[in-house]
């Protein structure tokens, strides 16, 4: 496991060195969403019997941990393959590529987790609307890992920065708006709703707002995210062993 330790240690040094820039950067967009949609647009509004602010906070946590985990891993892998060539360095080294994938995915997920903690702290200062349960923490963690793994896969597959931003525009951004972050998905047309229900972020969003959920459906959301994580991880490792 010295390979895993080496990769994580290096990521930690970089994080430490850019601590303030990273932390402040992580806070900008969630605060904007909270101000614009929570206090601004949504003040005095209710969804499913709760204030819009209470409704939107778990959504913003889901969306932001997704974005942060995905972006960090995807960009890190993509840049290290195309620009810095550090990916090659790991291919040459006696590190099993599974360990490399694991290290990078954990590191990316940690960024997501850190951004999640920051948002939680900020939100807790201003409102008491957020209720954190062990299930909430579990789902939020799983969400970070799923999207960090997806970032790893996409970082391997895509061969230019331009295509990377296309993937953001066509997949990640629509997901962040349509998967129940800002409004419940049952407001969607039925066909689209079924499709959206298949996406991982939808399950995170529903699961983080566990109001009136049965134990079975709580299990289902966790299971869907787990399946995404396992499948993406396996595909990534296979690709990682072949990619040049």
């Amino acid at each position: 496991m010295s390979g895993l330790y080496g990769i994580l240690w290096q990521e930690f040094i970089v994080f430490k060195r850019k601590f303030w820039a990273t932390s402040i950067g992580f806070l900008v967009s969630p605060i904007l969403y909270l101000v614009a949609f929570g206090w601004g647009l949504g003040s005095g509004m209710e969804i499913n019997g709760v204030s819009y602010m209470a409704y939107i906070i778990p959504g913003i946590i889901a969306m932001n941990t997704m974005m942060t985990s995905f972006n960090n891993t995807a960009n890190s892998i993509n840049i290290s393959r195309i620009f810095y060539k550090t990916f090659e360095y790991y291919v040459i080294s006696p590190i099993n590529m599974t360990v490399y994938a694991l290290g990078k995915i954990i590191a990316g997920a940690c960024y997501g987790i850190y951004s999640g903690i920051l948002i939680t702290v900020i939100v807790s200062i201003f409102t008491s609307d957020l209720i954190i349960t062990p299930y909430f923490i579990f789902i939020a963690l799983l969400n970070c890992f799923v999207f960090s793994a997806l970032g790893f896969l996409i970082g391997l597959l895509i061969n230019s920065h331009a295509d990377m931003s296309k993937f953001m525009s066509f997949v990640i951004t629509p997901m962040s708006f349509l998967c129940g972050t800002f409004f419940p998905i049952d407001k969607m047309p039925e066909l689209l709703r079924w499709f959206i229900y298949l996406l991982p972020l939808t399950h995170t969003n529903i699961a983080l707002r566990t109001t009136g959920e049965t134990p079975e459906s709580m299990m289902l959301h966790a299971a869907v995210l787990m399946i995404y994580l396992i499948v993406i991880f396996i595909v990534s490792i296979r690709l990682c062993k072949k990619v040049e």
């Binding site: 290096q10 970089v14 060539k85 090659e88 040459i92 006696p94 099993n96 590529m97 040049e244």
Partner: protein
């Protein structure tokens, strides 16, 4: 030490390496000399497992190498042409991570890192971020990193490309010190002087094929150790001779700008390919 048997790499439209055979001996400083696009880098990339080979075999220390064999990879040190250091961390941290990845115990790792900083002359700058390093320093740091795990063979892909004359001289001194330590090295270069100064044996490579393989001196002798260079029909022409006397006789019969000089590997290359090494 390193055996390459019938190695080929084919891309859709080109054959980058064409049935290459090489055998590098223990302790040898071996040079692959050829113009840009000759297949040198592809060969090194196949040995270092970055690029999958199309066919053939690469054997290091009796063991066939492939990307997913982690044990044998620790026997190779690679210095690629392009910088692949972590720019956001310090030089020391780069080496420390390398040591951890290659499972060198802490005490030995720290000692060896200090030695290598000393060896490459980077001790004063070891705590600086790599992104503040010059090109020559980055190259030296990559060499230090490749030596940290005490590889049995070092692959150097164009180690002085992009360096200015003074940085190149310094790099040669460093490489000569490595040579005197008895390390097995495979170096690729398109600089004639580099191959002549450093290499025990040189393989001339063109269009993916090995043309000639011998000591630099034998290759030059084979062509003729004296060159007569003259200008005719709008371009520089060369003729090769076994001795100065023969060259003098020939030059005596020429008109215009005539120069007699010792032959070099460029002449050897030109003789066998009708192409200059250093023309891109």
């Amino acid at each position: 030490m390193l055996e390459i048997k019938n190695l080929s790499k084919e891309y859709k439209t080109v054959t980058a390496v064409d049935h290459l055979d090489l055998n590098i001996k223990d302790g040898e400083f071996f040079g692959l000399l050829g113009p840009n696009g000759a297949g040198k880098t592809t060969t090194v990339r196949m040995i270092s497992t970055i690029t999958p080979k199309t066919s053939g075999e690469i054997v290091i220390d009796g063991e066939s190498i492939d990307r997913n064999l982690t044990v044998i990879k620790a026997k190779i040190g690679v210095v690629p042409q392009q910088n692949n250091l972590e720019n956001e961390t310090s030089a020391w941290e780069n080496l420390e991570v390398h040591g951890i990845l290659y499972r060198i115990c802490k005490e030995k790792r720290r000692k060896k890192i200090e030695e290598l900083f000393e060896f490459t002359g980077l001790t004063d700058r070891k705590d600086d971020l790599v992104k503040t390093y010059s090109g020559g320093m980055k190259r030296k740091l990559m060499i230090a990193r490749a030596l940290l795990h005490e590889p049995e063979i070092l692959l150097l892909d164009e180690p002085t490309v992009g360096l200015d004359a003074s940085a190149r001289r310094k790099m040669w001194d460093l490489l000569k010190r490595l040579k005197s330590n008895g390390l097995t090295v495979l170096l690729t270069t398109h600089y004639i002087e580099e191959a002549e100064v450093l290499c025990d044996r040189v393989g001339l490579i063109n269009k993916g094929k090995l043309l000639k393989l011998d000591t630099p001196w034998n290759l030059i002798e084979e062509v003729g150790k004296v060159t007569v260079e003259y200008f005719k029909d709008g371009e520089t022409q060369e003729e090769f001779f076994r001795s100065r006397e023969e060259a003098n006789v020939y030059a005596g019969g020429l008109e215009g700008d005539v120069r007699i000089r010792p032959s070099n590997l460029e002449d050897v290359f030109l003789k066998f390919t009708n192409r200059r090494v250093e023309e891109a």
